[in-house]
Symmetry: C2
Subunit: 137 residues, 2 copies
Amino acid sequence: MLSKKTKYGIKALTYLASQSKQDPVQISEIARHENIPQKFLESILLTLRNTGFLGSKKGKGGGYYLLKDPGEIPMTTVIRVLEGPIAMVPCVSLNFYEKCDDCPDENKCTVHKLMLQVRDSVLEVYRNNTLADLISA
Amino acid sequence: MLSKKTKYGIKALTYLASQSKQDPVQISEIARHENIPQKFLESILLTLRNTGFLGSKKGKGGGYYLLKDPGEIPMTTVIRVLEGPIAMVPCVSLNFYEKCDDCPDENKCTVHKLMLQVRDSVLEVYRNNTLADLISA
DNA sequence: AATTAATCTATTAAAACTATAGGGTAAACA
DNA sequence: TGTTTACCCTATAGTTTTAATAGATTAATT
């Protein structure tokens, strides 16, 4: 299951990406428009800022704004920051690899074999979708 | 993340599928061979029995055995029973559909749009893999 | 300089889910 | 009738998720 954190994060990013002007947008506006609990959204936007997706401006007229062109943001990077590993099992993860405690030999593990295929197919979907792709009709 | 329940369940099923004879196999043997906590495995095998994948026999010489040919068991059915919905969001689930609370219009939701693609690609992987495919070298 | 509108930080709490353990019951077999 | 094995119910420690609360900090505007 996708966490609400990730769901809300993607919604916020696409809302920002679909703005005509790239002026800062207030948290409250995003929260209202996308039906997201404001304080929860606040912490999500913060991690998106700390990981280089968003810039922020404090004080009157402040808010959040995208730092890059939506077409330059593949969903692989978004998902990894918000949700964590894309792989369903650590032993097939590219960025978060870990060996299984059980399982003496990965190459003979049927779960490994299956989840490798799942990882590859999901990865391809995320790679083929940028923020720009998601907001285009 | 794949739950251990699902991971252990798949391992148990493939262990049973790879037996040369289709005599009943004891829980303890599966647990030992696949490094699965026995009591946990017990409950997993029970749900696999109640959902029609396994048969069981009590008493001496008892144990669990596959009811169908491994080639007739696609992973879609296994995953749905052990892990639940394949979709990452209920609003794109085929068998467990639910509308989102937020989100007035699914067709305009970027998360929906992305997760539809993920569901389809994962589904294809599971459909293309039966138990028999997993145990073949 | 005062005010106000924002973002930032930290704590914590409820709820749900996960992974397991314990102990007793029932059936099959020898 | 005794042994072996699956079956069933209950409890629980731990983790993760999803927030809510309260306040501190920053910066533009007046």
